[in-house]
Symmetry: C2
Subunit: 167 residues, 2 copies
């Protein structure tokens, strides 16, 4: 079981975008530069996030991406499902119904105990990811590290944020 | 994020093997027949389970596979890690250190907050899988379904179990 590299990139992009002004946007090329990844690779992930409504794509010469809703309302689970798909990691193929001398159908109304246990564990995973928002990961003013990160990303936004009106 | 099909097959094989006598073994071909899958495909998973000590491979004409330890001591987590590898699903590539004007190294002693949150969720997942043993999934004598499954697998074991001494 492995999440795609895109998850780390996507979450860090969301963190950067959470610091934009409400009418701001940042081009994919700037997001790629800041994170040291290729624009074409990153675009695939940005489009998946936009498809899920987590980003808004702003067209035109002052365009780019901004968050699709408030950072307080975007969880890690939202980002993971947008990139990896909403389906469970474990998929029961009803192997219990294959092979010789199968049991009568009436026994298969309820899910297999194996599948139930696997999906319960996934619920615990998702519950944890649902608790963490982009807003709370974005900026921790209480630590030297939090302030250093904020300072660096702020300086980058100052150079690369695009606003509707010329600034 | 997707688990391989092998996880469902492996767990169901463990359930079947948990009903063998202590000196019993079942050939891969019988396990494959019971689960309606190809032997060559299943063998790959059985070998991974044996490599992790969850199965013992018994050589010779009366050979096959048996559990590597008591079913009470094999959890769903053991099986998943044996097949999927022990590494976490989320792997932090330290993307925070890439790009222009990186922060000084001293800021990276502690893991990134994103990585910490992702791994915390994986711990919750693993904790759930660790709670469930092969023994408790194998046989539920309290339900009609539990008894039907046991009856079917028992009949199959009667035909395909191999014992050290001729039976
Ligand atoms: S039949 Fe699918 S997990 Fe048991
Ligand atoms: S640097 Fe890897 S998750 Fe933040």
């Amino acid at each position: 079981m492995k999440l795609s590299d895109g998850v780390e990139q996507a979450i860090h992009c969301m963190l950067m975008l959470s610091g934009l002004q409400p009418d701001g946007a940042m081009p994919a090329a700037a997001l790629a530069e800041y994170h040291g990844v290729s624009t074409s690779y990153l675009l695939k992930h940005l489009q998946a996030l936009a498809g899920a409504g987590l980003l808004t794509s702003v067209p035109g010469p002052r365009g780019g991406y901004r968050l699709g809703r408030a950072a307080e309302k975007i969880t890690l689970l939202d980002v993971v499902l947008a990139l990896e798909g909403a389906g469970p990691a474990f998929r029961c193929s009803e192997i219990r119904q294959r092979g010789p001398d199968p049991l009568p159908q009436k026994f298969f109304a309820k899910p297999c105990g194996v599948s139930a246990a696997m999906l319960k564990a996934e619920r615990a995973y998702r519950d944890e990811l649902r608790k963490v928002t982009i807003a709370e990961l974005a900026y921790n003013p209480d630590t030297e590290l939090g302030n250093a990160i904020e300072g660096r990303s702020c300086a980058f936004r100052d150079r690369h944020e695009r606003r509707r009106a010329a600034s």
